[in-house]
């Protein structure tokens, strides 16, 4: 079967984008990706939008964006998988090319969140948990991960200081990413002393709601080879689900869908975790990154805290993780996040990451989690020919 490559990437600045509407953000990312690929707009056969509808005033955004970008009457559709909507969109685009239906597909992840108040967003996000038996007690998204953190600390001796190291790292690299929301390093003292959100998690354990868009253009191999830059291949595509309810979740110290999606992605790509040179993982909370180290096989189960403490996720460590700042410092416009992760790994594999370039990066990985793990998408990307 013909491979599918990424031939163009585009990315807006993430953060509070009071200057732009959601379709304008989408256009900014799309224009960048077209130019990067050296393609004309007419070359796009279809568009897939990754976005979570609840945050927007505009209903059924996909059609509005397709029209705004001048891509009508070509097909467009929306995929929704909570915070993994972007990677879900990439997956359906990849499937449509693999099915032989399309040659070139644009994937746009976009979200404009800052028009809603934080309490409203906490309410919306909390309801990604189970509404009948959990949200009715005021659970929040940070609260779920806080409960995972509490259990991880109990079972494995993970410490408060180890969790803080995730924020320190991601802010360090966010400061080097011109598109990141927070471009300032943070000290461990400041992070650890920040206000409690949901015990034991503080403000610096949590990513921030943001506005932003990212775009990747996918093409079948025969087309990909004619584009401006060498393609980055979608070599392994894993996708799995786990219980949306914490009441039905076996383990409270890992994300079972992540471990399964990773195993499938590694098998398809024919690589082992130690072959990964750089990864972007879903650090919606510090504990989420710690669990990702384990679920992805970068370290043994229970060793994630130590991985953070020993700075194995920094450039020069075992597998550098979130050297674009991650959700923590880059910001988390939910629908855009998965696409943003793929953009970063493509940059790394092309050697275009500048100050934060990981040396010899030829195999990379993305890990995008929806909700508290009810969805997980893992991609292994490779530069090889």
């Amino acid at each position: 079967m013909e491979r599918v490559g990424i031939v163009g990437i585009g990315h807006t600045a993430f953060g509070r984008r009071g200057d732009a509407s959601v379709q304008e953000l989408a256009c900014e990312a799309f224009r960048g990706a077209l130019a990067d690929a050296g393609l004309e707009r007419d070359a796009i056969d279809a568009t897939v939008l990754g976005s979570v509808p609840e945050y927007h005033k505009q209903r059924s955004l996909a059609g509005v964006i397709q029209e705004y970008l001048g891509l009508a009457p070509k097909p467009v559709w929306l995929t929704e998988a909570a915070c993994a909507s972007g990677s879900a969109a990439i997956r359906t685009a990849w499937l449509s090319i693999r099915a032989g239906e399309h040659d070139v597909v644009a994937v746009i992840g976009c979200q404009k969140m800052t028009e809603l108040a934080t309490a409203e967003i906490l309410g919306l996000m909390g309801r990604v948990g189970e509404v009948q038996w959990e949200s009715s007690f005021g659970t929040t998204f940070p609260g779920y991960y806080a409960m995972f953190a509490r259990r991880h600390m109990h079972d494995f001796g993970t410490t408060r200081a180890q969790l803080t190291q995730v924020a320190v790292k991601n802010h360090h690299y966010g400061a080097q990413n011109p598109l990141a929301m927070f471009r300032k390093p943070v000290t461990a003292e400041k992070a650890e002393g920040s206000e409690s959100v949901a015990s034991p998690l503080n403000v610096y354990d949590c990513c921030a709601n943001a506005d932003g868009a990212a775009c990747v253009i996918l093409a079948r191999e025969s087309v990909a080879r004619t584009c401006t830059k060498p393609p980055v291949w979608l070599a392994g595509m894993g996708c799995a689900t786990a219980s949306a309810s914490i009441l039905h979740r076996g383990s409270l110290t890992g994300i079972p869908s992540a471990a399964r999606a990773a195993a499938d992605a590694y098998a398809m790509a024919g690589v082992k975790p130690e072959r990964v040179r750089v990864a972007d993982v879903h650090d919606c909370f510090s504990i989420a990154e710690v669990m990702a180290y384990e679920d992805l096989g970068f370290c043994a189960r229970g060793e994630g805290g130590r991985y953070a403490e020993e700075r194995q996720g920094w450039i020069g460590g075992r597998v550098p993780v979130n050297v674009d700042g991650g959700l923590k410092a880059k910001g988390h416009p939910v629908g855009a996040t998965g696409v943003s992760m793929t953009c970063e790994i493509v940059k790394q594999l092309r050697g275009e990451a500048g100050e934060r370039q990981v040396p010899n990066a030829d195999v990379g990985l993305t890990h995008n989690v929806g909700g508290i793990g009810q969805y997980c998408f893992v991609q292994v990307l490779a530069r090889n020919d």
């Binding site: 509404v131 009715s136 005021g138 929040t140 609260g143 409960m147 509490r150 015990s199 009441l247 409270l252």
Partner: protein, 161 residues
């Protein structure tokens, strides 16, 4: 009347609505599939094992051990007036789990993973509307507070209502 259930009810329509009426009567009920015998707590109308839509009610003790908890300081819309409050997950000895707030017999500082607690039905008596839920209590303090005046609030910290 499932609209009675929860601190704030978000899903009033369900085939297990009688759960709330049992709670009002001080009883904690699980569902049991009449086709294959599979039990569920929280109750399910459709069996998770065989998908049969037929079930019956079965009273459970509510005893269990604490799996994990968090004190919610940044509350979602609709819960701002209650914050901070503790949400905790109990693994029940009769099977299943429950997520609930803490009752008056224990404070967050006293919580320990694996400690034994009891999920205890509560009929709210501080509201004009009917509202039922359940709280986590220490085993000795499990009598349901379905009558009488609301318990006195401790002066040093805010309590769950």
């Amino acid at each position: 009347m499932f609209k009675w259930f929860g601190v704030v009810n978000l899903s009033p329509c369900t085939r297990v609505a009688a759960f709330a009426e049992h709670l009002r009567a001080g009883k904690l009920m699980a569902s049991r599939c009449t086709a294959c015998g599979q039990r569920a707590f929280p109750p399910r109308a459709d069996c998770e094992r065989c998908l049969s839509p037929e079930f019956e009610w079965l009273e459970i003790s509510g005893r269990g051990r604490l799996l994990t908890w968090s004190r919610i300081d940044a509350a979602p819309a609709g819960f701002e007036d209650y914050a901070p409050y503790v949400v905790a997950v109990l693994e029940l000895v009769d099977g299943g789990r429950a997520l609930a707030w803490l009752g008056d017999s224990l404070t967050e500082d006293e919580l320990r993973i694996d400690m034994e607690l009891v999920l205890t039905p509560r009929l709210r008596d501080d509201l004009e509307e009917i509202r039922v839920d359940y709280l986590l209590e220490r085993p000795r303090a499990q009598a349901p507070r379905t009558n009488g005046a609301p318990p006195a609030l401790a002066t040093t910290e805010r309590r769950n209502p």
